[in-house]
């Protein structure tokens, strides 16, 4: 696995930004000022971060309803995201999309998505563009354990295989599709074998381990860039909050929830491993924590103060001939 000190610091900053963003949205949501509903990525940071660190400007990601982490890792403006979540005029989608539809095509973020399983066909399309236009780009489809069972996902894996499209399928398995256990809902309970059934090589990694995800993603992306077609990674991790804010997660057994933040925290693991081995200094990581905290705090303050969209925008950005 190849990563330098700079890469490690960037990885940590991204993970910390996602965590702080989500913890803050969790807190602010309870005040009732955030409209609609939000699905938080806290606990899952290593996946978006380590996968997106392999990507460049010509690469794209298709995301999910739990999309804040993918958006941050792919380079979306954090302040623009927060404004979008608050429904503000200069949010990333002009206040028309909200949490579940954050997108920024300029940085290759093809959109969070309100439809479970909708992302993989879009990733195949983006990969088809990259291949046809010879940009050298690839496309990542992040999808959850629920979406893994959708027909669109299976169809996309087959489509990517038959055209050897440069797609990385990333199954983000947080154990629960809404309230339903993934060990039950994924028939056969062996996602890598399912991918292999489509002729797609896959691997399974612990998503609390940034280094394990990084290694698997780097290997897969290098293989895809060499022109051998799609790859698959099954990442297992823990979602700290409910399916959406307001869901009490009572379907999780208590003993599973009790110590998850203590024992299943990618950021803690990262700090212990990098500082314990002398790769990074604790002060450097602490400094990042402070900077991130300042950034997120400013994002929330600016979002709260920002104006809502002008009512005239209700009928812009849509074909209208009457």
């Amino acid at each position: 696995m190849k990563i330098d000190k700079q890469g490690l610091l960037e990885g940590y900053r991204t993970m910390r930004t996602i965590r702080e963003f989500e913890e803050r949205v969790h807190k602010e949501f309870m005040t009732g000022q955030i409209p609609g509903f939000v699905h938080l990525y806290a606990g899952e940071e290593a996946s978006a971060t380590a996968v997106c660190q392999q990507l460049g400007e010509h690469d794209t990601v298709a995301s999910t309803h739990r999309g804040h982490g993918h958006a941050i890792a792919k380079g979306c403006d954090v302040k623009g995201m927060m404004k979008e979540i608050y429904g503000r005029a200069d949010g990333l989608c002009a206040g028309k999309g909200g949490s579940m539809h954050i997108a920024d095509l300029d940085v290759g973020m093809l959109g969070a998505n309100g439809i479970v399983g909708a992302g993989s066909p879009l990733a195949c399309g983006a990969a088809l563009s990259a291949k046809t236009l010879k940009t050298g780009g690839l496309s990542v489809s992040f999808f959850g354990d629920g979406a893994f069972n959708q027909g669109t996902t299976a169809e996309s894996m087959n489509f990517a295989r038959v055209y050897d499209l440069p797609v990385l399928f990333v199954l983000e398995d947080n154990g629960y599709a809404e309230s339903t256990s993934s060990s039950w809902s994924i028939g056969g309970n062996n996602p890598v074998r399912r991918a292999e059934g489509f002729g797609i090589e896959g691997t399974r990694v612990d998503g609390h381990d940034y280094f394990a995800v990084y290694r698997a993603a780097q290997e897969a992306v290098e293989a895809i860039r060499s022109g051998t077609g799609p790859r698959f990674i099954h990442i297992e991790f823990t979602r700290y909050y409910g399916h959406f804010e307001g869901d009490a997660s009572s379907y999780k057994p208590l003993d599973e929830v009790k110590d998850e933040r203590r024992y299943l925290d990618a950021l803690k693991f990262f700090r212990a491993r990098t500082t314990g081995g002398g790769m990074l200094k604790i002060e450097d990581l602490d400094a990042i924590d402070k900077e991130v905290e300042t950034l997120i705090d400013a994002s929330v303050k600016e979002a709260k103060a920002a104006p809502p969209p002008d009512l005239s925008t209700l009928t812009t950005d849509v074909y209208l001939s009457y």
């Binding site: 309230s179 379907y251 969209p309």
Partner: protein, 336 residues
């Protein structure tokens, strides 16, 4: 009789029919919840809690949580309905019609006709619709006109808890596929609802209020808004008849035409997009059958032809409002 919420009314209708008929089963995503987990079973009872308590009473053999696979389980409901069961499937949001459209549009809707009348397809697809809760473009649509357009489907849109219980009971007993629309923001609406089972026949509009000046036809959540607007206008001496069609397929054309023949004015309030929506359809029916009775042009009150926006101020402006309906009433009356 007791005061019940929309959620409780639906729950009672399903519970009573499951007690009455062992072939009634429920299936859908998290309709109990906790499937395969070590935590609370029946943790959700459906996304808005309408099926809570039914799994503990009837067991997982009759209340089936499904993987997130709309094509598979909506299609399975159609197949099971053909072969002896009476499934009530929950398509969480009607927006997900986009995922499983084939099974509804080309399969369950067609069997009875396409098989020469030999098949029955007694299934209900419960589904959430409508704006007003910040759900944005992919969770807030009012797609009932699309389903109404498809021959073979019955389409039900209850406007209150009382209506919800009676229409759900009828839907489960019906031998054709029924798409049952439940508004995202109406689950906590409350009113007096009988404790015992009752049915409300399809294709019979409800007269919510009577007045000599204007006929208002309103659908689903819009019935409440239209009533508020009409009650307000009565203070100015303008008396409106308000009709709630209850079902858009079959549609009670006769009641609408008869009312317009009396009042000479028609307003249709519809939460669906304006083009090819129920407002357009009902307007065409009236123009065809009661043209001579019209004293003013027909008014359609609908959202603009745009996706449902996220920002609260845009979403509020998107939905037909009480004010907007009053403006329409004044317009057809020719007053300011």
């Amino acid at each position: 009789m007791s005061v019940k919420s929309f959620r409780e009314a639906l729950n009672e209708a399903m519970r009573d029919e499951m007690r009455r008929d062992p072939t009634v089963i429920l299936l859908g995503e998290d309709i109990a919840g906790g499937m395969g987990s070590g935590g609370e079973q029946d943790a959700w009872g459906g996304v808005l809690g309408a099926t809570k308590g039914l799994m503990p009473e009837f067991g997982r053999e009759r209340v089936l949580d499904t993987p997130i696979t709309e094509s598979a389980f909506i299609g399975a409901a159609a197949g099971a309905a053909l072969t002896g069961l009476r499934p009530v499937a929950q398509l969480m949001f009607i927006d997900f019609f986009g995922v499983c459209g084939d099974q509804i549009m080309n399969q369950m809707a067609k069997f009875r006709y396409m098989f020469g009348g030999k098949a029955k397809t007694p299934c209900v697809v419960r589904t959430l619709y409508g704006a007003g809760f910040g759900g944005a473009s992919q969770h807030s649509q009012s797609l009932y006109p699309m389903l109404t357009h498809i021959p073979g489907l019955k389409v039900v849109i209850p406007s209150s808890p009382y209506e919800a219980k009676g229409l759900m009971t009828q839907a489960i007993r019906d031998d054709d596929p029924v798409i049952f629309f439940e508004h995202n923001t109406m689950f906590d609406d409350k009113e007096e609802v009988p404790d015992e089972p009752y049915t409300i026949p399809f294709g019979q509009a409800r007269t919510v209020r009577e007045g000599k000046d204007v006929t208002i036809v309103a659908i689903g959540m819009m019935v409440g808004r239209a009533k508020a607007a009409a009650d307000e206008m009565a203070k100015d001496g303008i008396e409106c008849t308000l009709l709630d069609p209850r079902t858009t397929s079959p549609l009670d054309e006769e009641a609408i035409i008869a009312s317009v023949k009396k009042t000479g004015r028609l307003i249709v309030v519809d939460e669906a997009s304006p083009r090819c929506g129920m407002a357009s359809d009902i307007s065409a029916i009236v123009a065809e059958h009661a043209f001579d009775a019209l004293k003013a042009p027909i008014k359609r009150v609908t959202p603009p032809h745009a996706p449902v926006p996220f920002a609260p101020n845009l979403e509020k402006a998107y939905l037909p409002s009480v004010d907007g309906i009053q403006t329409a009433i004044r317009a057809v009356m020719g007053v300011k």
